[in-house]
Structure formats: structure tokens, C-alpha cells
């Protein structure tokens, strides 16, 4: 259980109680980033600071004090490129990944940022289906783009998880949504298996002291083994060709022709093509006497 990372708010009293843990500290103000990192590093391992930013990236004032802090910047949008261009050097000097929601404009913004060297993650929520065609374009760019670019998540993680024998691998970890790796803690110390569960106040433990109990372990296992229910219930996802990529992540959504199924099948194809490409690039050494 100690290998689990805890996503928690930057509350001094809470962080003290979490001594020795690896933390992703959540802040909602730029002024809180450096103090939160300092505080977390005093008694804990800092995995990253997550900043829930309310403004587009072009409007952010970048501080020198953020250098050396692993920063997950969750912004509503990238903004206009002319605004970003002026702060690109400062952005690149940070240990940064930008997280954007999956609106059509943001899918373009994600591609632009990646192409100029900013690591990016597009978050497509379980409940809101994105524009699958536009997302597929971005996925192909991320996995098979012809010029070097910064990684685009969750496609890199999706490619890593693409192994038929380990169905519990969860590419949602790209945005901290994988209960086998991340638990979410609120200011009162209550624990949830995902951000969504935390916001809905579905807790698996009422206090962080209960983290090591079998009940929490069972709740985590239930989440990571949820794919089994898809097959047991004969859910339409169990018959879907895209399952080996999506792992039933959109089982709660509507099944639309050409929707998630087409996307995840194309993703599987792109991952296979990328693997073939990297295999063909491997140098072959010819035997010589």
C-alpha cells in the first residue's frame, strides 16, 4: 500500500499525517505551487504538484520558483498561440505536463503544444464522449507523427498498457485515475479511488488511518478487476473489438456506431504500427568471423 501515491490538497496538517508517503499535491493558486512543493518535500516524497488552473495557459505568469518542481498544469485551454509564443522558453524550462479537457479546440491546442515540445495530456472523461474523429487524428499524430514532438498522453500510456494478458492495466493513470497507483484524499483525510469518486463523495475510507485496512485493499482490487464484470454481465463492451485498448473504460457511455469502438480499434492499429516501426528500426548485427 505504501507504493500508492496519494493525490491530496496542500493542507499542512494533512501532509504531516501523511509523512513518508509519495504525494501529488493539489493546489488552485499559482502562489501556492512553490510553498506546497516545499511543504510536501519536508516530510514526504513529492511526486508532483497538480495546479487546477482557471485561466488559459497564455494568461499564466510563470514564476522562476517553479523550476525543479514536477508540475501538472490542469488548464481549461491553451489559448492563442501568439500569447503562448512569448512564454514558450519559460514553459520549456519547467518540469511540466499540461493537462487539457478534450474539447475540439483543445485537441488542436494539444497538438500545437506537443509539436513545439510541451508534454501534454488530453483528459477524456468517462461520462462525456469526446469528438472521437478529432481524438483519433490526435492519437495518430501522437503515436505515428513524422517529426519529433513532445509526448501526448494518454496515448503513450495506452501504448504501454497495450498487452492482452494484463487487462487490469489502466491507462487512466495518465491523469491520476488508476486506483492501483493513485488514491485521492480530501482535506478531511477521506479516501476515494478516483477524482470522480472523491467529488461525488464516494469514499472507501473515512480517514487516512484506514488506508492499510483490508477494506481499502478490497475496494482497490474491485476497481482494477472491474473489467471482469463486463464479461460476466455480457456487456456490449465484451464483444467490442476495441476492448483490448480501452479496457471497458467507456462502458457507462452510450454505444454509438463509429464512436469509441472505431477510435479504440484505430488506436490498437496505430500502436501495432508503431511497434512494427520501432522493431524495423532496431539495428541488426550481421555475424562476421
Amino acid at each position: 500500500m505504501n507504493s500508492l501515491k496519494l493525490v491530496c490538497p496542500s493542507e499542512p496538517a494533512l501532509l504531516e499525517r501523511l509523512e513518508g508517503r509519495t504525494l501529488c499535491v493539489r493546489v488552485n493558486s499559482p502562489d501556492a505551487i512553490a510553498p506546497a512543493a516545499k511543504l510536501a518535500r519536508r516530510h514526504n516524497q513529492l511526486f508532483c504538484v497538480i495546479w487546477d488552473c482557471a485561466v488559459p495557459i497564455e494568461d499564466i505568469q510563470i514564476e522562476d520558483t517553479w523550476r525543479g518542481i514536477p508540475l501538472a498544469l490542469m488548464a481549461p485551454s491553451a489559448g492563442r498561440f501568439r500569447g503562448l509564443a512569448g512564454r514558450m522558453r519559460a514553459l520549456k524550462s519547467l518540469n511540466l505536463r499540461v493537462f487539457l479537457p478534450s474539447s475540439s479546440v483543445n485537441l488542436i491546442g494539444a497538438r500545437l503544444l506537443s509539436s513545439v515540445g510541451i508534454p501534454i495530456c488530453v483528459m477524456f472523461a468517462d461520462e462525456d464522449a469526446p469528438d472521437w474523429n478529432a481524438l483519433a487524428d490526435l492519437m495518430v499524430y501522437a503515436l505515428l507523427g513524422m517529426a519529433p514532438h513532445a509526448p501526448v498522453e494518454p496515448f503513450e500510456t495506452m501504448a504501454e498498457c497495450y498487452r492482452r494478458e494484463s487487462r487490469s492495466e489502466n491507462w487512466g493513470r495518465a491523469w491520476f485515475d488508476d486506483s492501483s497507483r493513485y488514491l485521492h484524499v480530501d482535506a478531511q483525510g477521506r479516501v476515494a479511488v478516483s477524482r470522480r469518486a472523491l467529488l461525488a463523495q464516494h469514499f472507501v475510507a473515512d480517514d487516512i488511518d484506514a488506508l492499510e485496512t483490508p477494506a481499502v485493499r478490497q475496494a482497490i482490487d474491485r476497481c482494477s478487476q472491474a473489467w471482469r464484470e463486463i464479461f460476466a454481465d455480457n456487456h456490449f463492451c465484451a464483444l467490442c473489438k476495441g476492448f483490448r485498448t480501452c479496457r471497458g473504460r467507456f462502458r457507462e457511455g452510450k454505444s454509438e456506431p463509429g464512436g469509441c469502438e472505431a477510435f479504440f480499434c484505430e488506436a490498437a492499429d496505430a500502436i501495432e504500427r508503431r511497434r512494427d516501426r520501432s522493431k524495423s528500426r532496431e539495428r541488426t548485427v550481421t555475424w562476421r568471423p
Binding site: 498561440f81 497538438r111 513524422m146 517529426a147
Partner: protein
């Protein structure tokens, strides 16, 4: 050289426009999409290209023109923008604000100017051009298209002096487009054009302004004395005609506007910029295989065989072929359509 057309729209109606025919056939509302911008930037970057030109229509009409310019600069390209300088105050302010942070080596506005006394020009056009040059003169190289033998360029020296423009003038000859009737210079008028140009020698020398020839000036039409002066003034002069690769907003590609109808392909048919260049170089060679140059003498010319002169521009050659042997041109067109890339 890669030219990316940001839009088909233009705010002017130049009588010599060699893009008009092509533009008229394209959807008028079309602006290039960001996905395509990134694709083309990747294509060029992966091929080792360092320069890119943004064209139109009038490229500044693209609603995100400033952002696109900023993007190409950020990707490490040296960018030339082919513009007429006519844009709204808001657009100009945004552009000037962004460009102010970049050196004149990274961004060049190639501003196409018409002589208002010889080409119908609305007063508001002149005002907007003046505002553009006042704001961005340092980054601007004037360009002029010669479409009548009695052209006058005094006004360009005045613009260069008043606005501190780059001291280089890009000169092009307006060529006839196969099948169209744009105002243009006939091949037999070229020698007179060069003589008239050399008549401005004292002004060029007084202001130390260099000349760049656009494609298609034939070397044989320049006397030794004229060539000596041009070379002393501007260094090496270009008498060649390489494919200028144009990418359209809907991701088609062709080599230069006047040949657009002849050999348009999809960008996605090619894997690299080099492949595109090779493809269109072959097309030009194919045309020159049919007719060596714009003059009969080109066939036996040593400058052409030594490749110091292209024998005139490919579009003039295509035009000559269209007049003299339209079936052969149709055959070439057909071959291009059928061509399968490896």
C-alpha cells in the same frame, strides 16, 4: 522553397494576377486549418527545411494569421510572408506587436506593391499600405510585378526611403497563364523590360538597393553591360526556374500558381518534401523536353545546357506548348494525373 497558402481570399484585384484563375476555382471561404498547419510544419521539419513562405490570396486575412506566423517562428523556421500590406488596424497592431520581438532575419514581409498611377488603386489601399510600411518597414522587402512594358518604379524608391524598408527589391515578370488572359509580358518584350529597368540605375546605386529576380528572366535578354552592372549591384543573379511548391488550404500541392491546373496532387500522396520537389522537377524537365525554352534559340543555347539559364519560366513554356501543341500538353496533364508514386 515551400509556400503555404493560408487562404484563397484576396483584397486586391491586380490585372496581372497569376493566381486569380486558380483562386477562382477554389472555395472562397476556405482557410487552412491548424491540423494542416502542424502537418505541413512537420513535413518540412522532417525534410530538413528551414524556410517557409506564407501566401494567399492575402495570408493576413486568415483569422489566426498572427498565431500561425508565431507558430512557424517557434518551430524554428525563417518565415517570409507574401502580402500586399492591406489589413485592418487591429490585425496590423497585433502583427506589429508580435513581430517586434523578432530579428529581421527570422521574419520578412515580401510586400507586393503596385504603382498607383499605372494600376487602379483605391485611396484606402494606399493609406493601409502606408500604415503597414510605417509599422513593419524594417522587416519588409518590396516586391513588384512587371506586367506592362512601360512600367515605372520611382514610387518604390520613395517607399524604401521613407519607411526604411529592406534594401532589396524583388522583381517578377507577370507571365501568361495557359488558358487565361491575365495582363502579362510577352517573351519578345522581356529585353525591353530589362533595358527599362536598367534605366533606374542611378536610383538603385544612390540608395544601395539590390535586386532579386523572381524566376523566369532569360539570361540572353540581358546584355553583357547590363549583366555586369546587375552583378556588381546585387551579386549573383538568378536566371533559373525551380519548382516553387505551393500547398493549398485543402492540402493539395502543385508547383507554382501558373502551373496549378497542370499537375495538382494531394499532399498525402508524398512522404517527404524531397519527394514533392523531385516530382515537380521531373514535370518541369518533362515540359522542357517538349520545348527547350521560350525562344527557338534556347534549343542550342550553351547557357541552358550549362544550366545557368532555364530558358525562361516553366509556365511560359507550358503556355507555348498550349498554343503550339495543345495535345502534347494534354498528354502531359494526363500522365501527371495517372502518375503513381513509389
Amino acid at each position: 522553397m515551400a509556400n503555404i497558402l493560408l487562404t484563397n481570399k484576396c483584397v486586391r484585384e491586380c490585372p496581372y494576377c497569376f493566381a486569380g484563375e486558380e483562386m477562382a476555382q477554389s472555395p472562397s471561404s476556405e482557410f487552412i486549418a491548424w491540423e494542416n498547419i502542424v502537418y505541413l510544419a512537420d513535413l518540412l521539419a522532417a525534410s530538413g527545411e528551414k524556410r517557409v513562405s506564407l501566401l494567399g490570396g492575402e495570408p493576413s486575412l486568415h483569422p489566426e494569421f498572427v498565431d500561425i506566423l508565431a507558430y512557424f517562428i517557434e518551430r524554428g523556421f525563417n518565415v517570409s510572408v507574401f502580402t500586399c500590406g492591406i489589413m485592418s488596424k487591429a490585425r496590423l497592431d497585433a502583427l506589429a506587436q508580435h513581430v517586434a520581438g523578432h530579428s529581421i532575419a527570422r521574419v520578412t514581409f515580401v510586400c507586393n506593391v503596385n504603382n498607383p498611377t499605372q494600376t487602379k488603386t483605391h485611396e484606402s489601399e494606399i493609406e493601409k499600405l502606408e500604415a503597414f510600411l510605417a509599422a513593419l518597414g524594417r522587416w519588409t522587402m518590396p516586391a513588384f510585378n512587371i506586367y506592362r512594358p512601360d512600367f515605372e518604379i520611382d514610387f518604390i524608391f520613395d517607399l524604401i526611403e521613407r519607411h526604411g524598408l529592406k534594401k532589396r527589391l524583388r522583381l517578377g515578370i507577370a507571365h501568361p497563364i495557359p488558358g487565361a488572359n491575365n495582363a502579362s509580358i510577352e517573351v519578345w518584350q522581356i529585353a525591353g523590360v530589362i533595358t527599362r529597368l536598367c534605366g533606374y540605375r542611378s536610383e538603385f546605386e544612390r540608395l544601395r538597393i539590390k535586386l532579386t529576380f523572381d524566376c523566369g528572366f532569360p539570361l540572353c535578354q540581358v546584355s553583357d553591360e547590363q549583366l555586369g552592372w546587375l552583378t556588381r549591384l546585387s551579386g549573383h543573379m538568378n536566371f533559373k526556374c525551380h519548382p516553387a511548391i505551393d500547398f493549398t488550404p485543402d492540402m493539395q500541392v502543385y508547383c507554382c500558381f501558373p502551373l496549378a491546373t497542370l499537375a495538382k496532387k494531394s499532399v498525402f500522396d508524398f512522404n517527404s518534401f524531397k519527394e514533392i520537389n523531385d516530382h515537380y522537377r521531373k514535370l518541369q524537365d518533362r515540359l522542357r523536353g517538349e520545348i527547350p525554352g521560350i525562344y527557338d534559340e534556347c534549343a542550342a543555347c550553351c547557357h541552358r545546357s550549362e544550366r545557368t539559364c532555364a530558358g525562361g519560366p516553366a509556365c511560359q513554356i507550358a503556355n507555348r506548348l498550349a498554343n503550339e501543341s495543345p495535345n502534347r500538353l494534354r498528354d502531359i496533364e494526363h500522365e501527371q494525373l495517372e502518375a503513381r508514386l513509389s
